[in-house]
Subunit: 196 residues, 4 copies
DNA sequence: AATGAATGAGGATTCATTCAT
DNA sequence: GATGAATGAATCCTCATTCAT
């Protein structure tokens, strides 16, 4: 009598390459949540668990801590770039989007503070690269004679605002961010994610 | 299960109680250096080693992480308070002292960011208490009609400056701190430790 | 501060998930032996070493001391329950099995003394739960009018016998246990593990 | 001008040999309390602290753990011996005193279980010696034809009762001890310390 | 003779990372 | 490709014991 091959229930389904992309996205989301709740030093195992995948999958997609953190920030940075790429966008508009991400993602704030961290230099290098993409996005919209026109003042201001962004809820943080921009005398557009 | 320390066998010097004060100071200094180099999460064992004492001594003097960090910051905070207590001191003078400590001690910066840290709440509470001592020192010198006169603006500004204070050398950090105060339109006196 | 395990360099065998069940059993056996030799406070590291596994494995299988001790006792308790479930079993039969485990496993004796231990309350709670399973097993076979028929006398007697069970070899302990039961005027069947 | 020698207030008074005896007694009492509360594994430092003396003093009087535990038990054992030395004392009287100590001192119970402990052999030896003093005290009062007349039955019964003595309050323990003696069919006199 | 600080070994616990299946 | 067990180094923390004063 022939044996019907029954799917081994002990082994989880292997959905093929389809799953790969899904897993990667799940990991990035999980990391964002875990980072928000426990900070950037959260155990990787917690992220894998939250994503519902094994730890091996995490390593397959992200060879190290830095790669994962980078992927988490990628989305934030990309939205700032997209906001900057909109035709009639003003500096205020782009700052609005940037401010939204600043208040939304603890990791994004960390990005701006990564210089002072005692962490490994590869993290700092990565953070710097992302930070420069943000700067390019903003600088393109600086009107002549703007308060922050001088060479380094723009990112200095961003770092300053990031220093102000603390508080338990996003609303708190947004409130403080706006107060900070006000103290700097800089106008900020609507605070929101890019493609709303 | 009992502990069975090796009976004797060439035990290192025990300088007796005389050493207690010296050890405590050595620990605080070591902690300041290690914090600067590795951040507030540095292993306590590294601090003990740098101080040249056993780990037990560290725990004798500082029952937990918070106590040690507090002791490290205590000196910074105290100097700000002393600067504020000087007779003819102006806000600019006090800000000068505060800025010096901001650029000098990574831990002191951390203090202003401790709110956002995902760390244990007792650390946050302690940080808050120290932070309020700084605020009291500054607020007493706010002239009427000062830019930062509104309720929360003063410490918001301090947080903003602390966000700007990054860079490998103290000179870098001082430079950025002064630029930040300038962007805020606030005058700062000589940047130096208190009793210079 | 992050952990920096040595990258690779001759990592010992990893037999994969297959080993999980084997490891768990090895841990329980090792614990039984170590408990017998050093008592319930023996270092967990000694148990892991004896089992031939890393300490992490011990924590994976047993989140805390209690869980491990519970697993060790589980087998003893279960055999008593099984002996009690046999159709024509008499109290003497069940007591025989119980006595065997009493003389065999130091931990099982400890179970009956766990109340007086100054240990953490979760251990005591767990011990109590196991202890009650034993009681249920015995109580079901109490003939009417038995010497130990009164409410608490049964487990009191068990505690008394456990107090008597001392001595370097199992034979010594069995001898004393039988003498104790005799002093109590209670008949005990063959002293042996359950499924002999 | 002459300097009046002032007593150095930093150094505690040295009361001479008088204090030595007082300190020793304080240590024994402290140990008894701490043992009762935390078990025999309590840190020695806790005992010294409770006694109000430095740790060095503890080591001066008791070279090791065993010596201290022995001293704590000494008083219990001595009272049993004294009760046995009384002219018209009956076995029941002596058992009453012994039972009082059994219910009063966790360490005294431990004494009877010290055989099964995995502890160092010097502890077991010491425990055995004390145990034999108790036995001599009791055996002298065994009437001919007593239930516990056979060679080892007397101390076996004591061990059994000690197994029964558990519970949070002394009253609980006394109650269980009496129930245990009753199960053994042995009469016990008033449960109380010796020279009440 | 007492004090109490210092030492440092040892045990508990956590994670980053690898790898058999 | 995915799973999740195993490894073991690193950190935290506690105490027994010694010893300068």
């Amino acid at each position: 009598m022939m044996q019907h091959p029954v799917p081994d229930e002990r082994r989880p389904a292997n959905d093929g390459p389809k799953a790969a992309a899904r897993n990667r996205a799940a990991l990035v989301n999980a990391a964002r949540e875990i980072y928000a709740a426990y900070g950037l030093d959260a155990p990787l195992s917690a992220i894998a668990r939250r994503a519902g995948v094994g730890q091996g999958v995490l390593y397959r997609h992200f060879p190290d801590r830095v790669a994962l953190a980078g992927a988490v920030l990628e989305e934030n940075v990309r939205q700032v770039e997209q906001a900057a790429a909109v035709d009639n966008a003003t500096l205020a508009d782009v700052l609005g989007v940037m401010t939204w991400h600043l208040t939304e993602s603890a990791a994004f704030i960390g990005l701006l503070h990564a210089h002072e961290s005692g962490g490994p230099s590869d993290i700092r290098a990565h953070a710097l690269a992302l930070s420069e993409r943000v700067e390019r996005g903003l600088r393109g919209h600086l009107p002549d004679g703007h308060r922050l026109g001088a060479a380094n003042d723009l990112m200095l201001a961003v770092a300053m605002v990031s220093g102000a962004v603390t508080g338990p809820t996003r609303a708190d943080r947004e409130c403080r961010a706006l107060a900070a921009w006000r103290l700097l005398g800089v106008e900020v557009g609507p605070v929101r994610p890019f493609d709303s």
